[in-house]
């Protein structure tokens, strides 16, 4: 028997995660994402490779990022998939926000043709069956799936699937080190046949997060202490909450009275969800929740656009990240010319955005367009907070689970090759990193029920001595009969042969010693 894996997306690349695994005759689709770098047919996985969209037993979505869920409405509403869709409660809550937000940007800003409509999203989300962490779902008679906590973002899960004796785990994106608002990935010891893991940071080993936190806090504190303003351009979900918890805690401990603002919109809506979904956050949040909801930030004040130019220090979280436009750009224009101010950029910035320009060397002026030129005198602080696990974390997880096979997805090819090398040499586990649209066959062990004859069992109990637990018998497999293990005598009886004993005698010369 074997598990057959069709990599529809995220094979040797980051984007449009989608893996269809056939395990014990059941087809499961893990994630159904879109590629953010493309706007043509390449944005979606090639669903035509599936013989029929309805021979899939179920679709499981690990988390709400668009590269994991973006193609779902297309698959269900356009391709006509009708089966069950599973995702965790927070994912179900936050996914429509993300999908609709992206659809709007696509249609309103870039003027592109939409692949699915708002109604499609709503209709698709109505079909979703929410699941909880460690909840086991019997999809049908044979197939069961279970979600494990994955960290990464609110509601992210790793999905375990089992049909009979065949077991596999699809990790989605995960994080092995906890941050302030999310815990580390958590999993049981499962004897897996196959592990499909992400490998975004296949070769990076990240240092302690404390160092990054310390530098960030120091930069922000020094800036506001000197009366400057701090701009943190972030996306609405995840990093904003993480950094705000960090700042809010620090403000509290150090008795700082500088206001922290959130630019309105998605962030405030997201904060509301975070407040409700406390059960999916880190232990620290759960502990302090009994006293106070940590997402009710103490030092965050209501914000209005007119406050941008008020005198005095403040910290502002503004969307979108990377200063790619919108409100964060507007604020950047106002604040960049003062050397008192600070722009703290968390995470990765796509080339071409202002964020990228700021990170790749300190420019003194930025030409926005022909008429607008911004003098950049402010300080710039770069933060590398990433919700993905590093290579040490991947190795740790693989070692802990010790599966028989590993497939790497969601990473860059050369780095994946390096990681494959390590997994095979250090852990002795077979590893592959197929490209998109490739199929991998992973052999699985099959267990067979055999019966034992009474004589054999009796022999076992009498012959067993001390720690030695070895019993001798003969396995008989006949066509049309169940496999059976019998004792030597019985076997001789069945085949009607006699026992012959051949004995050898040897002499050992004392000189040989």
């Amino acid at each position: 028997m074997a598990i057959q894996c069709l990599i529809l997306g995220a094979g040797q690349e980051v984007g449009k995660s989608c893996v269809v695994a056939m395990i014990g005759g059941k087809k499961i689709m893990f994630d159904c994402g879109m590629h953010m770098g493309f706007s043509d047919h390449r944005a979606f996985p090639d669903f035509s490779l599936l013989s029929s969209s309805n021979d899939i037993s179920c679709v499981v979505i690990t988390h709400f990022h668009l590269d994991h869920i973006g193609a779902l409405p297309y698959f269900t509403e356009v391709c006509g998939y009708n089966g069950p869709i599973y995702m965790t409660y927070p994912t179900k809550a936050l996914a429509p926000l993300m999908l609709e937000d992206y659809r709007k940007i696509l249609v309103d800003r870039r003027g592109l043709e939409e692949q699915y409509t708002y109604e499609n999203i709503i209709h698709c989300m109505n079909k979703v069956i929410p699941i909880d962490i460690k909840q086991t779902i019997q999809v049908d008679k044979d197939l069961l799936i279970r979600a494990y906590y994955a960290g990464h973002v609110l509601g992210a899960a790793m999905i375990y699937a089992q049909v009979g004796e065949e077991k596999m785990l699809y990790t989605g994106d995960y994080n092995m080190t906890p941050d302030r608002h999310l815990g580390a990935a958590q999993i049981d010891r499962l004897s897996l046949d196959l592990l499909i893991t992400e490998s975004t940071y296949a070769t990076t080993v990240r240092d302690s997060k404390y160092l990054r936190e310390r530098e960030f806090l120091k930069a922000v504190h020094t800036c506001v202490a000197a009366g400057g303003k701090v701009l943190i351009p972030t996306f609405a979900l995840g990093r904003a909450q993480e950094l705000c918890i960090l700042l809010d805690d620090y403000w509290e401990r150090m008795n700082i009275n500088v206001p922290i603002y959130f630019s309105a919109g998605l962030t405030i809506q997201a904060n509301m969800y975070y407040k409700m979904l406390i059960g999916w956050t880190s232990q620290k949040i759960k502990d302090s929740y009994t006293v106070r909801n940590p997402f009710d930030f103490k030092h965050v004040c209501p914000f209005e656009r007119s406050m941008i130019n008020l005198p005095g220090p403040c910290v502002l979280f503004a969307t979108p990240g990377m200063i790619s436009g919108g409100f964060s750009l507007e604020v950047f224009k106002q604040w960049a010319p003062s050397d008192k101010n600070l722009i703290a950029i968390p995470g990765y910035c796509v080339a071409g955005t202002i964020g990228h320009k700021l990170m790749s060397g300190k420019p003194t002026r930025i030409d926005l367009d022909k008429d607008t030129r911004i003098d950049v005198r402010c300080q710039i602080h770069q933060l590398t907070f990433s919700p993905h696990t590093d290579s040490k974390g991947i190795m740790d997880l693989v070692e802990f689970l010790s599966p028989k096979h590993v497939i790497l997805v969601h990473g860059e090819k050369p780095k994946m090759a390096a990681l494959k090398q390590r997994i095979e040499s250090e852990l002795g586990i077979q590893c592959e990193y197929p490209a998109n649209n490739e199929t991998v066959l992973v052999p699985t062990t099959q267990s067979l029920k055999i019966s034992a004859s009474k004589t054999f069992v009796r022999n076992c109990t009498t012959e067993l001595d001390g720690d030695e637990r070895i019993a001798e018998g003969i396995l008989v497999m006949e066509k049309g009969h169940n496999a059976k293990i019998v004792s030597e005598e019985e076997f001789l009886e069945t085949i009607g042969a006699e026992r012959n004993v051949v004995s050898f005698t040897g002499w050992v010369s004392p000189l040989a010693q």
Binding site: I187, V205, K218
Partner: protein, 933 residues
């Protein structure tokens, strides 16, 4: 009880009959009738008419026996008989395992209640131990519960008496889980008391049995076996052979990858323990290599998914000593360190156990659970003290932990840092200081304290860091002035440890002082005091830097003597400090100027007398200010007098306190007089409020009443003076009223005649008398009257006793109020203590609910016990007018009637006829209605 006795008698009868017959007798014996009679009480045996007779307990009879044994009022005889009959019937029950195990559990339950029976129970169950599987497991569990209930040594000696090697081995290799689990638990129990009892197994056999159990298929047995081995190792610590911990270690390492969480926890603990023991023992093996292996093995568990395992892993890491630097450094780095750092041992380890030590501590301090972080932090601190190289690296992480969200982790990190500082292996760098100094303004006082403790020992590398540290400490002081002592001490230690830097700061300060003009108040700030402490630290402690330290600093430090010396308590005597500062300052002084008593002890009696004299003199001076219409000056003067009195009374004796109390009350009166005086002066101006005068006068009047009735044992002079003061009040009142009433006049005259009676007529009194006789207006002559008023007699204030009362409400506080039925009287139980009341005094209990008329209850002194000095009484006082609300509070206090004051007709219908003044502090009594409960 008689019933029990009967039952016991019957049972004994039963026991004397041979068992085979007894059942026959049972059915027809009087016992059965007794059983019927007693119902559920005693029905131990029912019988079946069987050719092969058997004892058969049914559940009812067993539960009756159990009830008898557990009932605390069962007589000893009955218990003995019950137990005997149970024991006698045990052998006959061996075929019926259910009844037998029930009977055994009843016996086991009774053993802890009746220790004397344990031995007999144990010896009679011994024979059953080799029986059927169920029987022996029941016997073993009974034995276990008996043994655990015994006092320390008895338990294991009981077991020793019946167990032997063959038996233990045969039970331990049983195929039945229950038997194995129970014998294992028995062994774990015994091994904990190994030393204090005789041994039925040799150490070797014991270890072998445990080791074998570690391979059991049941995880719980594996865990128990490991616990047993740990117990064995800790108990036998030095006595065991070297190979035992090695053997245990090998097995434990095999088990740390177990599927069961609890087995892993136990295994990790054992690895740590073995590592600790092997580290202590001398043997020929390459110890560092061995320790490295153990350390690496435990490190591999730092990434376990179970929180418990991770906690245990970091605890265990702290136990393994003598680890090579290379492995330690690897545990701080997630990246695999190259051979240039690692040296040989890493390469060797790579082969053996993969680079699993990598970044173990990083993972630990980044863990999601604060307990794990705390444990990691602790063990990090332990290793940091032992290896300088490791300390240099780990300080980065410990400093980073200062930013942790959990306070207990921050405290643990501070503790580790402190130990490192104390061992001299803390090498601070500039980059750490921002985070570390931030702790000085942390929310938690424990964290601030911890940070200061470290600063006291820290060696700072640069002057800038030193200065910023001092500034942060000053910021701490400004934010939390209540921590002044601790902050000053830290500053002192800091100055002492950094002689050059503090000299630098001293010179800066001296320059600053020179620049500013005299009388500049910037130097009154706490930051000034703090900086001075830094500056004088090193000259003071080592007598160095003295010539270099600017003299002016010492003279500036003199006024801060009290604050500095309080911070340096235990290090320097205040007297020494003062002498030192004066010696080096430019203040001219003689050593006899100092009053050593003040410096060392409290205030002596003689000194107290002189202090009191001084105060009475000052109060006299205040009078002259009042008379000279220097209202504001007088008030300032009196206020400072008040403050000083407060300070002095902190150290005063009981007798002196009374006098000081008198003076403070007296000063209050003077303050009021001074105020009134001011008002009268401004009377001619347009802002004249007659109402405020009346309020002030009322206050003055009640203050005077208070002083008159709060003390007894007046000298004649003082009494005259107080009377004259009240005359003065009358004069004020008199002059205020446009047309003085006859009553006022009468009042005045009566007081004058009283003064005449005790024959002390001062000029003031005479003058008033003259004026009244002449019928001239007192008002016109107010000034001249005041001029003749003399403040005399205060020097005679001594040996007064306070009249006071203490009230205690029994069984009431705001959390648990007394109950009442609205509209009905409620009782309040009070403890009353009266001091120095005479039998002629009329005391009342004053009870009032806000917004209502008060209720007075007369206190009959004859109901009190004790002498005039102290009277005590406890009584239930009714409060009649309970309001019709859910809850309310009453203010209760004891008042004294001022009999010599003017009489007011029917002031209260059932209350005092004269004015009253309070003797006790007001107490609140809380009530809540019965319904609202």
């Amino acid at each position: 009880m008689s019933k029990y006795r009967d039952a016991s008698y019957q049972l004994r009868l039963l026991c004397t009959v041979p068992p085979s017959r007894s059942l026959l007798t049972c059915s027809a014996s009087p016992l059965s009738s007794l059983m019927e009679e007693e119902g559920s009480l005693v029905q131990p045996l029912t019988t079946t008419c069987n050719p092969n007779p058997l004892f058969q307990f049914d559940l009812t009879s067993l539960s009756s026996a159990q009830a008898l044994l557990l009932n605390p009022s069962t007589s000893i005889d009955t218990i003995h008989s019950t137990v005997d009959s149970l024991l006698l019937s045990l052998p006959h029950l061996s075929t019926n395992a259910t009844s037998l195990s029930l009977a055994l559990s009843v016996l086991a339950q009774s053993a802890p209640r009746h220790p004397s029976l344990s031995q007999s129970i144990v010896s009679s169950v011994r024979s059953l131990i080799n029986g059927q599987d169920r029987t022996s497991s029941a016997v073993l569990s009974a034995l276990l519960s008996i043994a655990t209930s015994c006092h320390n040594e008895d338990g294991s000696s009981i077991l020793t008496s019946i167990l032997d090697e063959d038996l233990v081995l045969s039970l331990a290799s049983s195929g039945v889980y229950k038997i194995r689990s129970r014998i294992l638990r028995l062994l774990v129990f015994v091994v904990g008391r190994w030393k204090c009892s005789g041994k039925f197994l040799t150490d070797e056999v014991m270890v072998r049995v445990f080791l074998r159990f570690t391979g059991d298929i049941y995880p719980i047995l594996r865990r128990d076996a490991i616990d047993g081995l740990c117990e064995f190792l800790t108990v036998a610590r030095d006595g065991v052979d070297f190979c035992v911990p090695e053997c245990c270690l090998e097995r434990a390492i095999g088990l740390i990858g177990d599927d069961d969480e609890f087995v892993r926890v136990a295994a990790v603990r054992m690895v740590g323990l073995c590592g600790e023991m092997l580290g202590e023992k001398e043997n020929g093996v390459d110890k560092i290599g061995q320790m490295d292996t153990i350390f690496t093995q435990i490190c591999s568990m730092a990434r376990d998914m179970s929180v418990k395992v991770r906690i245990e892993a970091f605890n265990a890491l702290g136990k393994v000593k003598l680890v090579s630097d290379a492995v330690l450094m690897q545990s701080l780095s997630k990246k695999i360190l190259g051979s240039k750092n690692g040296g040989k041992s890493i390469i060797k380890l790579d082969k053996a156990s993969k680079p699993c030590a990598a970044g173990a501590y990083i993972h630990g301090i980044e863990d999601e659970f604060y307990v794990v972080r705390k444990s990691a932090c602790r063990s990090l601190g332990i290793h940091a003290v032992m290896s300088i190289k490791f300390a240099d690296d780990s300080i980065n992480y410990l400093m980073d932990l200062m930013n942790d969200d959990s306070e207990s982790v921050r405290l643990e990190a501070l503790d580790s840092l402190f130990r490192m500082t104390a061992q001299g292996c803390l090498n601070v760098q500039e980059k750490h200081m921002h985070m570390f100094l931030g702790l000085l303004t942390d929310m938690s006082s424990l964290v601030r304290h911890g940070a200061r403790k470290i600063l006291q020992l820290m060696k700072l590398p640069k002057l800038e860091i030193f200065k910023s540290t001092v500034n942060e400490l000053i910021a701490n002081l400004e934010k939390y002035p209540e921590e002044e002592e601790g902050i000053f001490f830290s500053l002192f230690s800091l100055g002492k440890n950094h002689r050059e830097f503090s000299l630098n700061v001293a010179k800066d300060l001296a320059k600053q002082i020179k620049r500013t003009s005299k009388g500049d108040l910037t130097f009154a700030k706490p930051s000034m005091a703090a900086t001075l402490v830094v500056c004088i630290a090193s000259p003071l402690s080592e007598n160095e830097n003295v010539p270099d330290t600017p003299v002016v600093l010492f003279s500036y430090a003199v006024p801060l003597l009290g604050r500095i010396s309080r911070a340096l308590q235990g290090t320097f005597d205040q007297h020494f400090l003062l002498t030192f500062l004066l010696d080096h300052s430019n203040i001219k002084w003689k050593s006899q100027d100092l009053m050593p008593e003040i410096a060392s002890k409290g205030i002596s009696e003689d000194l107290m007398q002189s202090v009191i004299k001084f105060i009475s003199k000052s109060v006299g001076d205040a009078w002259s200010l009042i008379k000279g219409s220097n209202g504001n000056d007088a008030e300032k003067f009196l206020r400072s007098c008040m403050k000083e009195l407060e300070i002095i009374s902190l150290n005063a004796s009981q007798a002196a306190i009374t006098t000081l109390d008198f003076f403070s009350k007296y000063i209050q009166i003077l303050q009021l007089i001074s105020k009134i005086q001011c008002k009268f002066d401004s009377r001619n101006s347009t802002t004249f409020h007659i109402k405020s005068h009346h309020i002030l006068l009322e206050k003055l009047d009640s203050a005077l009443r208070k002083i008159r009735y709060s003390f007894t044992g007046w000298t004649k002079e003082v009494e005259c003076h107080i009377l004259e003061l009240s005359l003065l009040v009358d004069v004020f009142t008199f002059s205020l009223a446009r047309i003085p009433s006859n009553e006022h006049l009468k009042n005045l005259l009566s007081k004058i005649s009283h003064l005449e009676a005790i024959s002390c007529l001062s000029d003031f009194t005479k003058e008033i008398k003259r004026l009244i006789e002449e019928r001239s207006s007192v008002m016109v002559n107010l000034h001249s009257l005041l001029k003749v008023f003399e403040c005399s007699g205060l020097e005679f204030v001594r040996e007064m006793k306070p009249i006071k009362a203490e009230l205690k409400v029994v069984g009431d506080d705001s959390e648990n109020p007394l109950t009442f039925v609205p509209g009905l009287p409620a009782g309040i139980r009070l403890w009353i203590t009266l001091h120095n009341t005479s039998s002629t005094d009329r005391l009342w209990l004053h009870m009032s609910v806000r917004g209502r008329r008060p209720q007075y209850v007369f206190l009959d002194l004859s109901n009190f016990e004790g002498s005039e000095e102290v009277r005590k009484c406890s009584s239930l006082i009714p409060f009649y007018k309970t309001p019709k609300i859910a809850s309310f509070e009453i203010r209760v206090c004891i008042v004294i009637e001022c009999l010599s004051e003017h009489y007011e007709v029917l002031k209260e219908r059932d209350g005092p006829k004269y004015d009253v003044t309070e003797l006790s502090v007001e107490k609140l009594v809380y009530f809540s209605s019965v319904k609202s409960r």
